[in-house]
Point group: none
Chain length 538, copies 2
């Protein structure tokens, strides 16, 4: 018997039902690429019948070659209608996917109360809808909604729904604990029973309302389910869906099932953090396996024991899931990672242990101030290059000023003035913008353009602000992350300050310094003539 | 057979090992009072041998009459020493508590690697330490550290440790899954075995490294454990301890065990939120049972079903744990969400279908512009009250100006000037701040204070910025979410604009308008005298 478990990711569909989770079509596409690399078998993209964002997503994925199967979600046909004419089913067909996830009712109470139809009609809805999609050549994964609640109230009917789906040719029968109220013992017993009665492979879809979604998924697999549904970081309605970031390592490292390759498993932490960044949701530090505190040790006894042998207080090697050990007494987040990074940049760390020590000190200091280089590779690279004396400064700041003004019934006006020193010249430049940071960006860019026209090829592609210390919100420290791109690459930079403008300035400057690494300045004479607020030669 | 389960809370001891959790003696005392009211049976306060904070805590609790038993934590005596002379054991005795929680090693590998002593000496350490504390009249709960890892490697030795503790007179044998790596099936099997061999009542202490701490605790109870250890909100080292906020309702509402009274259970949500406030840690919105999203509904199909019967998508009645149902308004949802919200506010929607239609139109329009009301209840309430003509405006804006200035090697300076019209007066006010938004907040607050001194009681507790359209980051639309609090409540407001300052202003203004709903303005004469940039009477 194979020990392969199929991973069905629904971050982009059920995950977006979570409070505060909102993903653009572009966000969804970016996440899909990472999920694909992670090796999940199914990526449920959304409901092509529900909104234009999902329609756009399904258009975009067609132009890319995914290993994972892209799945479109929908419901069984409306009551007393014909599947062939059902707009929502036809939108699944039209979306061009090869796999459909189709939800139908399995709890008699829901059929009569929510759908307000008969138990027979619901069976017909399940049968007709699956038959229609199968006839159109789709792989169909049937989601039996509220299967466990249904089974507990009326087992015959819940089973009849699965039988009807099987009869219609469903490729998967997925048992859903939609309300998240079922316990692991019940799950094990019910799935075992279903397993003994069905030929079609079984899937499990749980929710975390009792903090048992991971345990319930394991129980179902141990009872014979071979497809697990869940989301990255457990995003989803109410208390969330089953968290694939816990379920995959539990199955693979603890129970010897096969989900993804060992190399892919090592991407898990980075995928979890990436998705939380894209969703702009803080990841709980204590998230199992992938959180920054998952292998962090604070207690003195624990720390001295892990120095003797990490196995004393770590249930797995953190590297297996791409995470790392941290000791909280020193603020240092992984000096080996830092050394690794320096090596990647061909900085000669072995030759210069003194500089290496200083660089580590500097990173520690900044992390203590609230910097987090996890999402700001470019700033980290600049810092390392600087510490190793390899970086030439493009300019120094003399001053900047920003004025924001609003009058009743007028739009806000934002202006920025920067005064820089570049290659021995004072550059004085002003610009407007759609906001203070945009004005600053425009002024800085205009100033740099005179020496580095290539700066026009880059632009800022994302801008995020997060409060670090929440005690007193608008007066506490903020962390600004800026993502920039040019035709070929993307890079991220960071700034931290009590002042959002200063933090933005630092991240902006890093972004442009990074873009210009190794670039030679033009002679001022070769560039545009100075404007009124332009270049002043000394 | 009784179905009573004893709840042992270790928020104040093991909980403080969590990253970012730091509690003063005063914090600990306040939390202990709430835990006592909640009805937990044991409150582990800390380690009186470890620091002055814990010593102070044990001093303070003596002066108060607790129903719960206050517990002091410590380790077995040092190797090759005498319990009577062990400083740490004597500090437990001196702390004046009636109950001690004593940790000892149960994993042979730990005895040899971490303690670096013999298996026999460890047994003697367990026996001597418990005997000494029993002799001093204390109730002793023995924590068998790494019991499950120990049992899996050397079951005879793990059992021998428990037998030694029982022989010394321990009142409780607590089996700890210290590294959090054990699965529910293993827990059930091992606890069942131990149960068949021991007379002393058993306890269970789990950690959440596999996201299974709640499930593991249930499995142990089902195998015969009658004491459950955990923390409020699952705080604790690495991925945290077992979360009592999930375990108590699971045991009591799902498995018919008795932990606390029904009335006490209704305090659970408020205790969870109180502890998160005191610890200054954001509670995940999706926390099971007690999170603000635990009974929040976003999907349109879900919402229309819960309007028919909440049981369709809720596994328990939220009121049983002191939580409540919420309906999130979002683009995924239909208008039923909005109607539900209006009903909550007692707005007479049936009487005025025209206004209802306009309100729905307005929300749709704003959502199209990038507003998202699911995270901004207060802004939605203001909008609905306004549409139904129930809201009096506090002020109108004439203008604001913000100046941000930075000179090389100086900190950024931020100033704001606001000019408002309030109750027929022009109010002109300036303030500094740690950033432009903080300056604006300060100026607005100073202006409002003259008429509404109660504005001093509220403060902003979180501030989030998110770029909506990422195409051109600093020039694209941003969404600002502000969370505010006063002594009793929290509310969230939203602003959307191309300009982060304007979006922040809108969210700030909503926050203060919400705080002042139903409040009457002072006569200006009753307030402070006008300052130079203060109140100008017309």
């Amino acid at each position: 018997m194979s020990n392969q478990i199929f991973v069905f990711d629904t971050t982009l569909r059920d995950g977006t039902q979570g409070e505060g989770i909102s993903l653009s079509a572009e966000d969804k596409f970016k996440i899909a690429l990472r999920l694909n690399a992670l090796g999940v078998h199914y990526i449920e993209g959304g409901n092509p019948g529900s909104n234009s964002k999902d329609i756009e997503f399904f258009q975009r994925v067609k132009q890319h070659n995914f290993n994972a199967k892209i799945v479109a979600f929908g419901s069984t046909r409306r009551k007393h209608s014909v599947a062939e004419h059902d707009a929502s089913l036809n939108r699944i067909v039209d979306s061009g996917v090869r796999v459909s996830s189709l939800v139908g009712k399995a709890w008699d109470f829901h059929v009569t109360t929510a759908l307000q139809t008969t138990l027979e009609e619901n069976l017909a809805m399940v049968f007709d809808s699956i038959s229609y999609l199968k006839q159109k050549g789709l792989e169909v994964s049937f989601d039996a909604e509220h299967f466990f609640d249904g089974y507990k109230h009326n087992p015959e009917y819940a089973i009849a729904v699965l039988e009807k789906a099987q009869e219609a040719g469903a490729d998967w029968l997925v048992m859903c604990d939609t309300n998240g109220g079922t316990l692991p013992g019940e799950i094990f017993e019910i799935v075992s029973n279903v397993k003994s009665r069905m030929k079609t492979p079984l899937g499990i879809h749980t929710h975390n309302d009792c903090e048992l979604a991971a345990a319930n998924t394991l129980a179902a697999v141990q009872a014979g389910a071979v497809q697990v549904q869940g989301t990255i970081n457990g995003y989803g309605e109410r208390c969330g869906n089953a968290n694939l970031c816990s379920i995959i390592p539990n199955l693979q490292l603890k129970l010897n099932y096969r989900c993804i390759s060992d190399n892919q498993l090592q991407q898990l932490t980075s995928v979890a953090r990436y998705v939380s960044e894209i969703a702009n949701v803080n990841m709980p530090v204590n998230q199992p396996y992938v959180g920054t505190a998952a292998f962090a040790h604070k207690g003195g006894i624990h720390v001295s024991a892990i120095l003797k042998d990490p196995k004393t207080y770590e249930h797995i090697e953190p590297e297996l899931v791409g995470n790392k050990q941290r000791v909280l007494v020193s603020e240092l987040a992984g000096q080996s990672n830092l050394l690794f990074k320096a090596q990647e940049l061909h900085l000669d760390i072995d030759q210069d242990p003194e500089k290496t020590k200083l660089a580590i000190e500097r990173v520690k200091q900044l992390e203590h101030q609230g910097y987090q280089f996890e999402g700001a590779d470019a700033s980290l690279e600049l810092l390392l290059r600087q510490e190793f004396g390899e970086l030439e400064e493009i300019f120094t700041l003399d001053s900047f000023k920003i004025l924001v003004e609003k009058n009743a019934n007028h739009k806000v006006a934002s202006e920025a003035i920067v005064k820089l020193n570049m290659h021995g010249n004072t550059v004085y430049m002003a610009a407007e913008g759609n906001g203070p940071v945009n004005a600053l960006d425009n002024a800085l860019r205009k100033a740099l353009e005179q020496f580095y026209p290539e700066i026009r090829n880059m632009h800022l592609s994302d801008y995020k602000v997060r409060v670090i210390n929440e005690k007193d919100a608008t007066a506490s420290k903020v962390r600004v992350l800026i993502e920039s791109s040019d035709a070929n690459t993307k890079w991220s930079t960071i700034g931290v300050s009590e002042n959002v403008i200063e933090a933005s300035w630092d991240a902006l400057v890093d972004s442009m310094r990074y873009a210009l690494i190794g670039k030679q300045p033009l002679e001022p004479a070769n560039s545009q003539p100075p404007t009124r607020l332009g270049l002043v030669n000394h």
